[in-house]
């Protein structure tokens, strides 16, 4: 079976800065894949290239078998995305935003599904409030709902837990674990190492745009490593290299 995501020698330059430097990786179906790295390591740029939001300087990216450079709209139709730091449109209410997403994605009974998400993420009392008036945490709940409302085969999510309280983090982690058990795939970018260690099946570690490590979390545990220590030693080595 072909991988759900195949990145081959991906490079992205922003002027003189090489944000991603020749990264190749495969993500298999059913994985909860964690892309880890310090701030500015290239995680968000990787997600943007894989979802067709930015064009790679070199290399190729195939998502669900579709060329993300040649047909980014089709890729985005097939997947769910939570972009980093993006907020939903200011002057739509939370319910209207999910209805908007449903209309663009042609999701049948979108409002019924939206109601399920409002209940599940415990923000039904905010569904008629304009997005600009929502708290950061509630906006994050809304962005999480829009990424999963059409139950995509693959979701690429950038720091999805960062604004959630511990109760909500636990609920969302449980949801993601169940989601991949159904044979779907999640590509998660985070720098919360404990979360990655707890829920991810596979990880890749990026630092200064380079791929430092790529493999199953279970392998690390078998070697007696804990992810935070392994990550920190790898990054420090990378700093001194």
């Amino acid at each position: 079976m072909p991988p759900v995501i195949r990145a081959t020698d991906l490079v992205k330059d922003y002027g003189d800065l090489r944000a991603v430097d020749s990264v190749s990786l495969d993500v298999e179906e059913g994985a909860l894949f964690g892309l880890l790295g310090p701030n500015g390591s290239g995680k968000t740029t990787m997600i943007k290239m894989l979802t067709g939001q930015v064009k790679p300087t070199a290399g190729s990216a195939a998502v669900l078998g579709i060329d993300a450079v040649a047909d980014p709209v089709l890729v985005r139709r097939m997947i769910g995305i939570i972009p980093e730091q993006e907020t939903p449109p200011s002057f739509l209410s939370a319910m209207e935003y999910l209805a908007f997403v449903g209309a663009v994605r042609n999701i049948p009974d979108c409002e019924g599904k939206a109601d399920w998400w409002f209940d599940f993420l415990d923000f039904a009392d905010k569904k008629d409030v304009l997005c600009k008036d929502l708290s950061r945490g509630t906006r994050q709940k809304l962005m999480f709902a829009q990424a999963f409302i059409h139950e995509p085969a693959l979701a690429l999510i950038d720091e999805p837990l960062i604004n959630f309280d511990p109760v909500m983090q636990d609920l969302v982690k449980e949801y993601m674990a169940e989601y991949v058990q159904k044979g779907r795939t999640i590509f998660l970018s985070t720098h919360i190492l404990e979360v990655a260690e707890e829920i991810c099946s596979d990880i890749a570690i990026l630092h200064k745009g380079k791929l430092l490590h790529f493999g199953p979390v279970a392998e690390l545990i078998e070697q007696g490593e804990d992810l935070p220590s392994f990550f920190l030693s790898l990054v420090r080595k990378g700093d001194h290299a």
Partner: protein
């Protein structure tokens, strides 16, 4: 406060200059200066065909309108907080992290905007006129006086519209009451005294009869207008979140005959709920056009019978094309980046929304035609206005994609826009003046417009959509 002001100036400069390069942006005032310099040589020709004092009146009126448009664009009550304060982390936002009162920050923000746009637009224009004065025979002192009074006109426009915006954000009833009193007062004065009220405009009074006392009085009025507006300014409290039942689904359903109806429904809700649909229509469309109509009507005796209404129609078309900036100011590409939509589709949606908004200029120009007794030219005027609007919008799409509000300050973009729109206006004016029926030739603008939109959509789609 000085530190904050300087930091805000730097911030505004960097926002603009990082987008299209420092040099390109720095050339913008140079180009404005060049335009004014060249236009100065036309003054003797225009002056010869106008009654004494009319050119001065029109020039001061134009600067008043420039102030109104800059102020109306940037300072629209609730929109200020949402568009200028809420979406990006600017210094204007720093009341939440620094020990500075919100009114202090807002006052500094207003002063910064005034100084910044004064340096960007007003000063270069006046300087161009001064530079040309040795060649045009205008005494340098007279040119300096004109620069002063034109600057005052700009500030009157800015402070006036700022005050009205603040009042509007507080109470729409008081706003309408104020407007009714203002227009009734002006209309009553005209009826009773038969004197043109524009002649009482303080900067014009100073120009016609300069004195330190009248200058100080004008400055005092300006300070009062700015102060009252700042005191009345009402930032939206984060706790006052309104609730809205789902209006998107029914609206999108009603518009389903249109392509990209969800995008159009979203844009219309953005416009309506931000207060922008009413605010922009009043401050950036109707008010400027009524004043322009008033000033242009002074030229009526020098134009062919259809001349005035056609001139107003073309001007309406140009201003109506700025509606494209209304619908592109609210969101970044971010919220769309997680959806299966490309830039080309978003542009198409914005254009459809603009198409719906064109009923505003159509109604306006029809009303002007009826009120000015030019009903016979109603249809060609509407055709002229809408065609010019469509063409100027298409040029804007081609040149600036989804970022017209920002790229207008790129000297290359502005020069290309002025050139392309200027040619069309010149040809249409000449055709319409020679024979009223030739105004219908304006529909031919649909051909280049279609080409501009097609090329613009393809070009901006291929560019990396970092934001707009």
């Amino acid at each position: 406060m000085l530190d904050l002001f300087l930091a805000m100036m730097k911030e505004e400069w960097r926002i603009h200059s990082t987008i299209f390069g420092s040099l390109s942006f720095a050339l913008f005032p140079v180009m404005i200066c060049g335009i004014a310099f060249m236009a100065s040589f036309l003054i003797p020709i225009i002056q010869a065909s106008l009654p004494p004092g009319y050119l001065t009146l029109i020039t001061h009126g134009s600067y008043l309108m420039l102030g109104v448009m800059v102020g109306g664009f940037g300072l629209l009550g609730s929109e200020v907080m949402n568009r200028r304060f809420g979406q990006v982390s600017l210094l204007a936002y720093s009341a939440r992290s620094l020990p500075i009162r919100e009114t202090t920050i807002f006052l500094t923000f207003v002063v910064k905007d005034t100084v910044y746009y004064f340096l960007l637009w007003v000063l270069p224009f006046g300087f161009g006129y001064i530079l040309a004065s040795p060649f045009t025979g205008v005494p340098l002192l007279s040119a300096l006086l004109l620069l002063t009074t034109l600057s005052l006109s700009f500030l009157f426009g800015l402070s006036g519209i700022f005050l009205l915006s603040s009042v509007y954000a507080r109470s729409t009833t008081v706003f309408w009451l104020l407007l009714i009193i203002l227009f009734t007062g002006i209309g009553g004065t005209v009826l009773v005294t038969a004197i043109n009220p524009a002649l009482f405009f303080p900067p014009l009074l100073i120009y016609n009869s300069p004195s330190v006392a009248s200058f100080l009085l004008a400055v005092l009025i300006l300070v009062l207008l700015f102060s009252i507006a700042t005191l009345l300014f009402d930032p939206i409290s984060p706790g006052s979140a309104k609730r809205y039942p789902n209006a998107f689904t029914p609206l999108s359903g009603r518009l389903s005959f249109l392509p990209d109806s969800p995008l159009v429904a979203k844009d219309l809700l953005d416009l309506f709920r931000s207060g922008s649909l009413i605010g922009q229509t009043i401050f950036s469309f109707i008010l400027p056009l009524v004043v322009i109509w008033f000033f242009l009507s002074l030229l009526e005796g020098f134009l062919p019978p259809q001349g005035l209404i056609f001139l107003v129609a073309i001007t309406t078309g140009i201003i109506a094309s700025t509606m494209y900036t209304w619908v592109t100011m609210f969101d970044t590409f971010g919220p769309y980046a997680c959806l299966p939509i490309d830039v080309s589709t978003i542009i198409a949606g914005k254009l459809t929304t603009c198409g719906i908004l064109q009923m505003i200029p159509a109604i306006f120009i029809a009303t002007v035609a009826i009120l000015s007794g030019d009903v016979i030219y109603l249809i060609p005027s509407v055709v002229l206005s809408l065609s010019v609007s469509f063409y100027a919008t298409a040029v804007m799409v081609w040149l600036s994609g989804l970022s017209p509000n920002v790229l207008v300050y790129d000297v290359k973009v502005l020069a290309a826009y002025l050139f392309l729109v200027g040619i069309a206006i010149a040809l249409l004016t000449a055709a319409g003046y020679s024979n009223p029926d030739y105004a219908y030739l304006a529909v031919l603008l649909a051909i280049p417009s279609w080409c501009f939109i097609r090329r613009g959509r393809a070009w901006w789609n291929a560019s990396e959509p970092e934001g707009f």
